[in-house]
Assembly symmetry: D2
Homo-oligomer: 349 residues x 4
C-alpha cells in the first residue's frame, strides 16, 4: 500500500460489532489510518468490546445505541452480525452518522431499499464493504477494463475459496450466496460496468461437510449469470481450500482478457529435487490486509471531502439480488430471471 493521503482532520469513527472482522477494522482504524480516529467500540457480547477497545485506548460499550448517540462520532462502522446490518444502517442514518457497513448490507431487497432510502433522506454517505474493489490488483484490472483492454465483456469469472470450514454447524443456510459469493457478484457487476444481470442459475452442495447437508449447509457452489449486454459470467465458491485463501477474477471480451488475483502472491520460490514450490496466502486478512485499509481510507476521504463513496447501497442491492436469485435457483433447480426476484422465501432466514 502506498502511504494514504492525509486528511486535515481525521474522521471520528464508532464501530459496532467486535467479532473477527470488526476487530480487524477497529485495529486498522485505530492504528494504521491517519485519516481515522476510532473513538468507541460497541458489542453486546459480554466483554467483547472491552477486550478489543482497551489495548487500542478507546472507549467500550455493550450498547450500540451509545455509539449512535455519541456526539463525537461522525461515522459508524457496522461489523456485527449480517442480519442486523440493515436496521443499524437505518438507525445510524437517522442519527446523522456516515455509514460504513460490512457486506451484506441487507438480507432482502426490501431491507436494502429501506437502508438506501434512509441514508438518502438523512443525507449521509453509505459505503459497503466490498473490499475486493480496493485490492491493488483488482483495482488495476478495473482500470484496464475501463480503458478498453477487453473490449466488450463476453465471459467473466470470479471465485472465492475460503481456507477452512471450521464450524460447519454454525454456518447459517444460504451463507455461501449471501456472505461469500456476494463479493463475486459485486465484482462481476463492477467489471461488467453498465450491464445488468438478467438470469441466474446456481448449483450448490455440501461437499466439504456432507453431514451438514440436511441442516441446509451449502459449502460449494457454481453460479452462471447472463447479463443484458450478452455477457455470460460464472461465480464459484468453496468453504475449504486446502491451499489457503483464493480470490481471482477473469474478464474476457472482444479485445482480450484481464486476469487478477492469485493465492501465490509472494515472489519467493524454493527449487529442490521435488521441483519448484512457493507459499500461498492463508487468510483474507493476509491477502487483503492492504485492501481492508484502503477501503476504510477511501471511506474516510469520502466522508471528509463530502464526495460519494466508491461503492454504495445500490451496489449492495444489485449483488444481493443475484444472491437471492441463486437461492431461488437452488430451491427450484431451474434458472431464475432477476425480474422475478423480490422477496423469495428463505432469503432472510
Amino acid at each position: 500500500m502506498s502511504l494514504p493521503p492525509v486528511l486535515p482532520v481525521p474522521v471520528r469513527v464508532g464501530l459496532i460489532g467486535a467479532g473477527r472482522i470488526g476487530t480487524f477494522h477497529a485495529t486498522t482504524l485505530a492504528r494504521r489510518l491517519p485519516q481515522a480516529e476510532l473513538v468507541i467500540v460497541a458489542d453486546p457480547a459480554d466483554g467483547a468490546a472491552q477486550r478489543l477497545a482497551a489495548p487500542l485506548g478507546v472507549e467500550a460499550t455493550t450498547d450500540p445505541d451509545a455509539v449512535l448517540a455519541d456526539e463525537r462520532v461522525e461515522a459508524v462502522a457496522i461489523t456485527c452480525s449480517s442480519t442486523a446490518h440493515a436496521e443499524l444502517v437505518i438507525r445510524a442514518a437517522a442519527a446523522g452518522k456516515a455509514v460504513f457497513c460490512e457486506k451484506p448490507m441487507a438480507m432482502s431487497v426490501e431491507e436494502a431499499d429501506a437502508a438506501i432510502a434512509a441514508c438518502q433522506e438523512a443525507g449521509v454517505p453509505l459505503q459497503v464493504g466490498f473490499n475486493r474493489r480496493f485490492a491493488a490488483d483488482f483495482a488495476a484490472a478495473k482500470r484496464m477494463v475501463d480503458d478498453g483492454a477487453v473490449g466488450t465483456p463476453q465471459l467473466l469469472r470470479s471465485l472465492t475459496r475460503d481456507p477452512d470450514l471450521a464450524h460447519p454447524t454454525a454456518v447459517p443456510a444460504w451463507t455461501i450466496f449471501t456472505q461469500t459469493l456476494i463479493h463475486d457478484f459485486d465484482a462481476l457487476n463492477w467489471f461488467n460496468a453498465g450491464a445488468t444481470a438478467m438470469e441466474v442459475h446456481a448449483m450448490a452442495d455440501a461437499l466439504v461437510a456432507p453431514d451438514c447437508r440436511a441442516a441446509g449447509l451449502l459449502d460449494t457452489a457454481v453460479v452462471t449469470i447472463r447479463y443484458d449486454n450478452g455477457a455470460l459470467a460464472t461465480a464459484e465458491a468453496s468453504f475449504s481450500a486446502a491451499y489457503g485463501y483464493d480470490v481471482r477474477a477473469e474478464i474476457f471480451g472482444s479485445a482480450g482478457m484481464v486476469t487478477a488475483g492469485t493465492p501465490a502472491q509472494l515472489p519467493v520460490r524454493h527449487w529442490s529435487s521435488a521441483g519448484v514450490a512457493g507459499p500461498t496466502a492463508r487468510a483474507d486478512t493476509e491477502l487483503f490486509s492492504d485492501a481492508y485499509a484502503a477501503e476504510l481510507a477511501s471511506f474516510c476521504q469520502a466522508v471528509r471531502n463530502r464526495t460519494p463513496p466508491a461503492v454504495g447501497g445500490h451496489d449492495a442491492r444489485a449483488a444481493l439480488r443475484i444472491a437471492l436469485a441463486c437461492i431461488a435457483s437452488v430451491q427450484s433447480g431451474a434458472p431464475v430471471r432477476l425480474d422475478d426476484i423480490d422477496e423469495p422465501s428463505g432469503a432472510a432466514a
Copy 2:
C-alpha cells in the same frame, strides 16, 4: 516432446480427409513419427488429397473406399467432416482396420453406440482424437490428480478459446458444443475419473458474430455440470480470443487444486517502460503440436502392441452426451438430466 519409443515395424496408416487437421496429422504421420508410415490419403474434394500427398511422397485418392480396401493399410485415420465420422468408423472396422477418429466420433448417441459396437465386433482398436490428454501439462495434471493431489474433486473447470472466428456463416449450428466444448467435456470426465455427469445447464449466445445468431450460430458458451460424486464443473468456450489459443483446466478438491495450461507457455519476457510482456500461443497446432504427435504415437503403439487405446469410443460417447444435453438445455432454457439424453432433435444437424 521426448523422443518416442521406436516400434519394430511402423504402423501403415491411410488417412481420410485432407482438411486443416487432416493435413497436420498426415504430415505428422509421414514426417515426424517413426512409429507410423503414411501410405495413402483420401479426400473427395478435387485435388485436395493430391496436394497433400505429393510432397509427402504417398499415394492420393478421391475415394475413401480405396483406403479401406488397401491391403497395406493397417490403420485408418479419420479426419474428414464430423458428420461422416461414425459411418467411416463403422466401415473401417468392417474392413478390419484399426481406427483413429478425430472428435467428435459421432453426432448422436445412436451413432456412437453403432461405432463402438462395430469396432468391438470387428476386434479392432478405436481411438478418438481428444488431444488434450496427450499434452505434457495435462498429462502431468492427470497423474497428480490420480495420485490424490486434490483428494475428492469438488469443483472443476475446463475452457477452450479459439483464436479467431474466420467464417462464422460456415459454422454449423451447435458446433460450440459438439466440436469445441466436447474437448472440455472429455477433459472434465477424465479428471473426475469414475464419476458420471448427471445434470447439465448451458448458456450460450452469438456475441462474437451477433449477425449470425439468427442462423443458429453460438460462439460463446458457459456450461455447468453436476457429477454423481457431487463434483460441480464448468466448461467455457469462445470462438474468438484476441490473444490466441487458450486451453486450461483447474481441478479443485478436498485436498487441494491442480491447474494446467496457459496461453503464455514460452518462458521469454520483455521488460520495458510499458511493464512486462510476453508472447501467447496463436493456434492449436502451435500449443498442441507435440500433443498431436503424442496421440498418434500412442495410437500406433496400441495398434502394434495390441493394447487398448488410451482414449476410446466410450469416452467419446460420454462427452457427446454432455454436448447433446447442452443443446437440449439451450433449447429449453433449463437444466437437463443426462438420463433424458438419447436423441434430441437438432443434435445431428
Copy 3:
C-alpha cells in the same frame, strides 16, 4: 503487511534529514506505525523540515542538535546525507538516543568502527536501514535458507536496478558501491550467514550517462565475491532500468535454490493481440513500502523491548568493506582481498 503488534507505549522519534527517504520515513513514523510517535524533524536546508513537519503535526528545526538535545526523543532516525551518517550516529549515541541510521552507516571502516563503538559504549541500540531484510519475500527466502532449503550456499546473486538516473552530475563518485550495491552486499552476507567475504572483483562503467564518466560517475557495475565457505556471489547494479525498480536475489546451493523478488509483483495481466502484459514496480517506495514500515516497526520494538536490532552496525561494516574493496578493485583493475581493505583512498570522497 500484516498489522503490526502494538507496543504499550510508542517510541518517541526525532528524525534528521528531510530529503526523499527522510520524508518517507517521517510519514511512516507519524501516520502509519502505532509503535512510533514522531516528535521532531530537523534539516538544515531552508524550510525543508518545516515543509515536512507541518502537515504531520510535529515540530521542525534547522538544527540537528535540537533533536539530540530534545528530552522527549528516545530514538533518532538519521536520514540525512550519507557522509554525515557516522558522525551523527556517534553524537546520537553520546546523547543516549537509540539510533536508526539509513545506509550506508559510514563511508570508511574507521568511521564504522567508531560508530559501533560509540553505540556500544553508550549502551544504545543501533539499527541500519537495510530494508530488503524486511520485505516479505526476502524474509521468507531467508527463513527457507536458514531451514536448509539450499543446503550449503555455492552460488549467490543479488541485484539492484534503480528506475532512473535523473541527475547524473549530482551523483557522488562510487555511489553505485557505497549507496546502491551496499544493499546487495548486505543481502549476500545475510543469506550466506556465518560466511565472510574474502575476495572481491568489480567491473563498472558509465553506460547510462557516458558523458559523466570523466567526472567519476559509475552507473553500471558487476561484482563477484568469494566467501570463506567457498560460495561465489555476484552483485549487479544499474542506475537506469526502463521498466522500473528491480531487486532480486538467488541463493543456490548443494540442496537447491531459493529465489526472491520480481519487478512484476502485482498479479494482474492483460492478454491481447500483442500477447500478455503486466505492470512493473516503478519505485523503491512502491515495491518496498511495507518493508520500510516493517523495518521501523522492528526498530521500535527492539527499542521498547530492549532486544538487539535485527540488523546492526557490524552488518553495515561488513557490507561497507565489500563496497570499499569494489572501489579498490575498480581502481586497480584487479581482484582485491578483503584483508587488504582498511582505508582505501577515495572511499570517503
Copy 4:
C-alpha cells in the same frame, strides 16, 4: 516444435561418436527429421556403434574413416570426444563432407583456426552445436533483442546448471569452461551482437566434489566479461543443481530487459496445504529436445539449400577464446585481456 519444412531430398548423414549426445542426435536424425537420412554410425568403442545403429536400421562401423569415405554420406555429425573434434572437422572437410560438430569445436585457438580454414578451403558448410540458439524461448529473445527491445545492451547474464555430477573423477580439467560455459559464452556473444569480449575474470572452485579439487576439477564458476561496447556480462555454472537442468539468459540495456529460460517450463501446478508446487526439467535432452531437433533441421536445410549455417566456426572460436581466458584468469587469479589469449598452457589438457 512446429513441423519442420520438408526438403525435396533428405540430407544423408553419417555420425561419428555413439556416446550420450551422439545417441540422441542419431535418433533425432533417423526418426524425427524428414530432412535427414542417417546412413551410418561410427564409434571405435567395442559394439557402441552397433548398439545404436541396429534399432535405427542403419549401418555401423568402428572406423570413423569409413564414414568419411562413404560416398552416400553428404554430411558428417561429429559427436565424439571433444579433443578429437577439430581434427575430425578438418578430415571431414577434406573428404568434401558438410560438417555438424558438437561444441566445443576445438580445444585451442590454433585448432579452431585450422578447422575453420579447412572448411573454407573445401567449400563445405560447418555448423557448431550451440543448441541454445535453437530453443524457442532463446530464439524469441534474440528476435526481441535484435528488434531493439533492450536498446544498447549494458548488463547480460547467462547460466548453465547441470543436474548432476555423476562421475566427478571422470571430468577433465577445465571442463566447466570449455564444455559447459562455452554455451553461455556463445549465448552472450550472440545476444550482444556485433560486440567483442575484451576482458574476462573468472572465479571457480570444486564445491560439489571438494575431494576432486586436487585433481583439477572445477564444478562451480562465475565469470565476468567486459565487451568493447561497454556491456558487462556474467556467466555462471554449476555441475549439480538439485532441481534439475537450468539454463537462463537475461539481457538488460538502455531500453529494457529480455529474459529467457526457466527450469519450470511445464504449466502445471499443484496447490496444497504446503503451498504451490510444480515440476522442473531434469535433463538437457528434456528441456532442449526440440532445440536439438531444430539445430539439426537447420543444418540440413543449410546443406541442401547451400545457405550459410546459422552458427559457424567463428562463433565457436569466439566462445573458445573466452573459455581459454577463463582458464588463464583462474590460473593467475587476475582478469585477463582477450588480446593476450592465444594458446595458454593447459587449455588442451
